[in-house]
Subunit: 453 residues, 2 copies
């Protein structure tokens, strides 16, 4: 564990729709990463509804913990349940005042919007947005990216004792598209810089493994500790994520050597399963490896998810040729030329059909890399012979290299579909690195059989 | 607002990997919905790391708020950073004891796993899992779904005053697949039932609209209040979610009539844009409407996401015929028969090509409903004439009905892709309901032009 006292912060995510599970929060994780980059230790993310009392209790909790910074998201909109500015104003002991210049700037933004949306009730819009120009006296305004301004607010009366920490509150809107640029503006304000003076810089290392159970990592950590590696200097977190294990380690710059020794030890003990020690994801690696290639997909149980993940990033059109979602047997035959008698003989979920899908996709889209996935996502369609979760994969290259695997994936329909995409990406990585015999699909699945051409 | 004092609860999500944004929490929202079903008011979701002090502070916060129930997720695994049982034990004033019978049952589970994974270090596994059988004295054990048992723990010394509320703590593992069934087991324990005695039953109504800005809903709410509707009896939350507006309303059974009047008023004022007043989602409705049909997809910028969302639910193979992800012009021509000179004349992103993709998909997959989507997801590929975010949609039926729309969607690449799928689903709904001329794509987009055959 780091020895110096860290600068701490808290995050308050507001919104009954987030608290009640109607929408999921994307701001907490994003802000958490930004705080880490600044060397600020996050104590807690508090998700509260639009009740002023609960919001105030969350702010008070962080103040009692002595954090230097509180970041809020949401509750800056035009509707009556958007109360954050008011609650923060009261919390900081500052009366609310109308900032007329700000009101003018918001009106300017609204004029642009109303031009694009004819028929809008402009008066209603103005009235509700005037509310957004009422801010705590003396707060620093962050210019709106949408229509809601953000705020940086310090305590009006920063306590009696000279050494008491009183938090600075950064108030940001809920939509990530607005919050993210406004966070950057906030972090450049004087009040913000003053609040985080003295924050310790931390580094973070990420190791990723595929095909190994979490308990083996735990055993490795114990063994390394017994070997005398100073793991207590590192804050190590392991987690299972989409079938991969991620080891995230936070450490102070002075402990870089200890971290290096730790990463080396993991690489040595788990060479078959460690696929990233530079924080790159499997998606990063596959995208890099596909440079100069053209990949085509024939997928069944994944229903388009393999193609969707391959096209997630900008520039993927350079290497993604196309895909067919061949759910029915007829589609497999018509669109990708899978022989009907092969489906008849081996079943639609078989290594043979996975290979035919990969080959068919490669040919029909004139690609040099083909991917075939066929399986039983469930909940129906399984039997004793081929249970729900059974998925057959094949990745092939026009130069004749191929990896074909059949695995039984755990979980419900969504899990099986999602996990199948991850397995596909790892098989693609191995094919493109010409590691055709590499073992290690275990953490993703019970491997049923392994065949390689 | 409801008048009686509600039974309140808090949720503590543990895990440095969640706090640091490495993985996103799915348990908070799920547990939130379960609490609501039981009529329990959730005050806050606290996300904390694996630091015992922060975990304890979160528990203490809820106890100070007087909640009847605290639910924790995560931190029950075999690694040293899994500390929840210990922290909760200390918080409840109960010493930790080894439950030998439980240890035996966990060993039994491990035996089954080790049979499937040859080469595993069984001793390491046993040692780390013995930890999972050490529990707070007197706690109720929830049988493991994975290998981690859950717990229901009351305070050893429930305070001096007879009326002081002391919380019962429900301790659940982090993986949703384990947490969800174990929550159900927890909710049937005696300690749990006793804690929530007297919870007020709440009802929740959900209205969903598509194609209307949030500010117009705010204006409607103000108008209804001026008309004398007792909206103060309802807890109304509006939020924008994937381009749709959701109005979630919580109310006591006595206020059912007020809610009915409110929902009627929304339906009357926003008949063109209200698509659900029974909480069904657009996915539910499209799945129902597709019964007896066969739908095929030709998609470009969405890269497989339309097909993936159409195949998300069990049973979709009954109506999903197949899809082609036709990223390149060659693929559009080869796989779906889009005429090269049409692409040349109008550009790949054009209403004409969207229609040809829909028609081609319908023909090639022998379907009676066709979907075509082509657009510029960005960040590159746009110009003054066709900016990033421009997407052309066409949905067509073999009986000749068709809706074709061109819209400019806001946001980054992921936003444009995701929003395009939502627009597609709403167009499909209208086609299948024969509402070919219905307006209202505005909230999703600036509509560039609207053409209908």
């Amino acid at each position: 564990m780091p020895v110096s006292a860290p600068t701490r912060a808290g995050i308050v995510i507001t919104g009954t729709e987030v608290l009640s599970g109607i929408i999921s929060d994307r701001n907490g994780p994003w802000l958490s990463e930004r705080l880490r980059e600044l060397g600020i230790e996050l104590t807690q993310i508090s998700v509260v509804g639009d009740r002023p009392g609960d919001m105030e209790a969350a702010l008070r909790f962080f103040a009692d913990q002595g954090v230097a910074l509180i970041v809020t998201s949401g509750g800056l909109g035009p509707t009556a349940d958007d109360l954050t500015a008011e609650v923060v104003g009261a919390f900081c002991g500052r009366p609310m005042v109308l900032d007329e210049a700000l009101e003018g700037r918001i009106a300017e933004i609204l004029r642009a919007i109303t031009r694009r949306w004819p028929g809008l009730d402009i008066d209603a819009l103005r009235r509700s947005n005037r509310k957004q120009a009422v801010i705590p006296e003396g707060a620093t305004v962050l210019e709106p990216v949408g229509t809601a301004p953000g705020l940086v607010v310090g305590m009006r009366d920063p306590g009696t004792g000279g050494d008491a920490v009183t938090p600075v509150v950064v108030v940001l809107p809920g939509p990530p598209r607005e919050l993210q640029p406004m966070w950057r503006a906030a972090s450049e304000t004087e009040a913000f810089r003053a609040a985080i003076v003295g924050a310790t810089e931390y580094r973070q290392g990420i190791l990723r493994l595929f095909g190994i159970p979490e308990s083996e990592i735990a055993a490795t950590l114990r063994a390394l500790e017994q070997d005398g590696l100073a793991l207590e200097r590192l804050e190590i977190t392991t987690c299972l994520r989409r079938g991969e294990i991620e080891i995230a380690t936070r450490y102070e710059p002075d402990d870089a050597e200890t971290y290096g020794a730790f990463a080396d030890a993991i690489a040595e003990r788990h060479s078959n399963t460690l696929f990233s020690r530079d924080a790159t994801t499997i998606d990063d690696q596959v995208a890099d490896l596909l440079a100069g290639h053209r990949v085509a997909v024939g997928e069944s149980c994944t229903g388009g998810l393999v193609a969707a993940r391959l096209t997630e990033r900008a520039g993927s059109s350079a290497y993604f040729a196309g895909g067919v979602v061949a759910y029915s047997n007829a589609a497999k035959t018509e669109m990708l030329g899978v022989a009907p008698d092969m489906i008849e003989r081996h079943g639609a979920v078989s290594p043979e059909v996975a290979e035919a899908l990969a080959d068919g996709a490669m040919q029909h889209f004139d690609a040099d890399i083909g991917v075939g996935v066929t399986g039983i996502a469930g909940p129906g369609g399984g039997d004793d012979d081929k249970p729900v979760g059974r998925v057959c994969f094949s990745v092939a290259s026009s130069d004749g290299a191929r990896i074909t695997r059949t695995v039984d994936l755990p979980g419900n329909r969504a899990d099986v579909r999602d996990r199948s995409v991850t397995v596909t990406f790892h098989l693609l990585r191995r094919l493109l690195r010409a590691e055709l015999d590499a073992p290690g699909l275990r953490s993703a699945a019970d491997e049923v059989s392994a065949t390689s051409e």
